[in-house]
C-alpha cells in the first residue's frame, strides 16, 4: 500500500498541520512538522526520543502554542486556539504520564467529560433542576457502560489516584471516549503497561476506529503499530521524515537510520 492509499484521499483529512515550529530557549523541539491525519483511521506518530512528538501533540491539542505554522481540524483553522476550544471541536487527548483527576472518583472522572452539561450553569441548578437531574442520570448510565467496557466498573467509587498505572491509562482513554470525540490523541497509551493489557488497549483502539473515531497515537511499540495502525508519521529532529505504512517505512533508509534501526537493534540485543 502506498502512502496515498494508507491515508486515503485528500478530502478525508480530519487534521492537517503545516510548518509547525516550537523552540524552548533557542532549542527547536519542533522544526517545521507537516503532516495530515486521515479521518476514521488509526495513525501512529513515531520517532526517536526528543523528536518532538509530545510537543506536537501538545500544540495540536492547544496545551501549547506554536511559534509558527498552522493547524486545521477539518476546514477550521485552530492554530494556537486554547485547548478547551479545540476540545469542543471533538479533539480529546491522553497524556504521556497519566493525569487523572486524583481526588475525584473514577466515575466522576468520566462525568466531567461531556460537553455542554446543563448542570454546569448556576441558573439551571436553581431554576431547572429536573433538566439537570435528567441529563446527569443519562451521563451516569453512559459512564457506567463505558467503565464496564473498559474493565473499571468495580473501581467506579475509588478515588482515581488510587488506581494502578495501567488502570490510569484505561481511565484516561475511557474519559476521552466519554466526551464523544471525533479525534483522539493518545500519547504513548502502551507505555509501562503489561503485555496482556497492551492487547486489550489495542482492542479498544480498534473498537473506537470501528465506531468512527479517528485516532492519532504516539507509540514506540512497533508490534502494536504494525497490527493496528493504518498510517504512520515519522518525526525526527522536529521534522516530518516520512509517512506511510510501517511495512513500507521499514525499507526507507532515512527512517531506518533515524529510528527503526535503533528500535530493531534494541530488540535484537534484549
Amino acid at each position: 500500500m502506498t502512502d496515498q492509499e494508507s491515508r486515503g484521499s485528500s478530502d478525508e483529512m480530519i487534521l492537517t498541520c503545516e510548518g509547525l515550529t516550537k523552540a524552548f530557549l533557542g532549542v527547536k523541539a519542533v522544526n517545521g512538522a507537516t503532516f495530515e491525519v486521515p479521518k476514521g483511521k488509526i495513525t501512529a506518530l513515531i520517532g526517536p526520543n526528543g523528536a518532538g512528538k509530545t510537543t506536537v501533540v501538545n500544540i495540536l491539542s492547544g496545551a501549547m502554542t506554536s511559534d509558527s505554522g498552522t493547524t486545521h481540524i477539518g476546514s477550521t483553522d485552530v492554530t494556537n486556539w486554547p485547548s478547551y476550544k479545540i476540545a469542543r471541536l471533538g479533539l480529546m487527548r491522553t497524556f504521556q504520564l497519566s493525569r487523572e483527576l486524583g481526588d475525584l472518583t473514577v466515575l466522576e472522572n468520566l462525568l466531567v467529560a461531556p460537553k455542554h452539561q446543563p448542570g454546569e450553569s448556576l441558573v439551571n441548578i436553581f431554576l431547572r433542576p429536573s433538566l439537570v437531574k435528567r441529563v446527569e442520570c443519562e451521563n451516569v448510565e453512559r459512564a457506567l457502560g463505558i467503565l464496564q467496557t473498559y474493565g473499571l466498573y468495580d473501581l467506579r467509587d475509588n478515588r482515581a489516584r488510587e488506581l494502578s498505572g495501567g488502570q490510569k491509562k484505561l481511565l484516561e482513554i475511557s474519559r476521552g471516549v466519554m466526551a464523544s470525540p471525533t479525534l483522539l490523541l493518545l500519547d504513548e497509551p502502551m507505555a509501562g503497561v503489561n503485555p496482556a493489557l497492551i492487547e486489550r488497549i489495542g482492542g479498544y483502539i480498534l473498537d473506537l476506529k470501528a465506531q468512527g473515531v479517528t485516532v492519532l497515537m504516539i507509540e514506540h511499540n512497533l508490534n502494536v503499530v504494525e497490527k493496528i495502525c493504518d498510517h504512520v508519521i515519522v518525526l525526527a529532529e522536529g521534522k516530518t521524515l516520512a509517512t506511510g505504512r510501517l511495512s513500507d517505512l521499514r525499507a526507507n533508509p532515512e527512517v531506518v537510520t533515524a529510528y527503526l534501526g535503533e528500535v530493531i537493534n534494541a530488540s535484537t540485543h534484549s
Binding site: 492547544g62 469542543r88 487527548r93 436553581f126 451516569v140 467496557t149 497492551i198
Partner: protein, 346 residues
Amino acid sequence: MSAFWYYVFTLLFFLFDYFILAMGLNIQYGETGILNFAYIGFVAIGAYVTGAVSMPDSAGTGQHYILGLNIPFPINLIIGGLTASALALIVALISLRRLRTDYLAMVLISLSLVLYDICNNFVPLFNGADGLYNVPEPMAGVLKLTTNSFVPFFAGVAGVVALIMWFLMSRITRSPLGRTFRAIRDDAGVASALGKGVFRYQLTSMLIGSFYAGVGGGLIIQFGGSFNPSAWLPGETFVIFAVIIVGGVGNNIGMIAGSLLVETLLVHLPAFLPSIPSHPGLIEYVDAMVIGILLMVMLWFRPQGMIPERIRRSPISASTPLSSVTAVAARAGAEPLSTVEEGGAS
C-alpha cells in the same frame, strides 16, 4: 439577660458568621483551588457597603461615607454581597486570566494590602481609620429590641442566613458545576483538555465565594454596629484559611467544625476571659500562637482536616448486578464486559 447568655449568643453569632465566610473561601480554595489571599478584603467591602447603604446620608452624622441610602435589612445585606462579587469580577478579570497558584496568591495579597490602605486613608469613602459606627441594628425599631435582646435575635438571624446559604452552597457543590470546580482544582490542564473553559469556572467560583464573603461581612457590621480597619487586617484571611484547613477542605460540614474550633473557641472565646493585669494582651498573643500551632499540626498529621472531603459515590450500590449495567451499556452502545476481556489486538 445575664452576661453568660450574652457571651453564648455572641459566640453563636460568630460561629454562624464564620461558617458563611468559610463556605465562601472553601468554594474558592477548597473546591476550585484558587488561593485567594485577599479574602478578608471582600469581607470588608461587604461590611462597609452593607453598613453604608443602611445608614442615613452622612451629612450631620459626624462621619464621612458614600451611599447613605437608608436601605433596610436584608436588602442591604444582599447589596453588600453583590458589591463584593462585583469587586471579585474586576479582580478576576485582571488577575485570573494570566496568573496561576503562587503568582495569583501574591497578586491577591498585594490587592488586600492596597484595599486596606485605601479604606484606612481615604476618609470620604468609609470614614478612614475610624471606620463606620452607629450602623442601625436591623429590625430593632420594628421589633422594639433592646441592646440585650438584639444579640440573641441577630444570632438567630445569622443562624437562619447561614442555614439558607449552606443549603444553596450544597446544591452548587453537589452539582455538575461543583464537580467541574473540583476537576479544575485537581488539574486545570486536564479540565481544559476536556473542553472546560477554566477561566469562566474560576470566575464563577470567585463570584460565589465573594458573595458569601460580602454577606458574612455585612452581618458583622450589623451585629456590632461598627466596622473599622483594625477589624480586617490582611492577616485575618489566614484565620479563615485556618478554619477551612482545620475543618476539612472541600467539605461544607467541615466548615462549621472549623468555625467552632478555630473562630469560636480559639479566637472569640478567649476575648471574654479576664485579662492578666501584669501581662495585658498576653491572652491574644498566646491565642495567635495556638492557632498557628494547630494549623501546622493539622497540615502535618491530618491535612484532610477534621471532616475530610467526602467521596461522591455513584448513585448505584456496589452490589448492583453487572447484568443490569449491561443493559445500560447496551443502550449506550458500549460493548459487554465479556467481549472486552476476550477481545484484543487483531
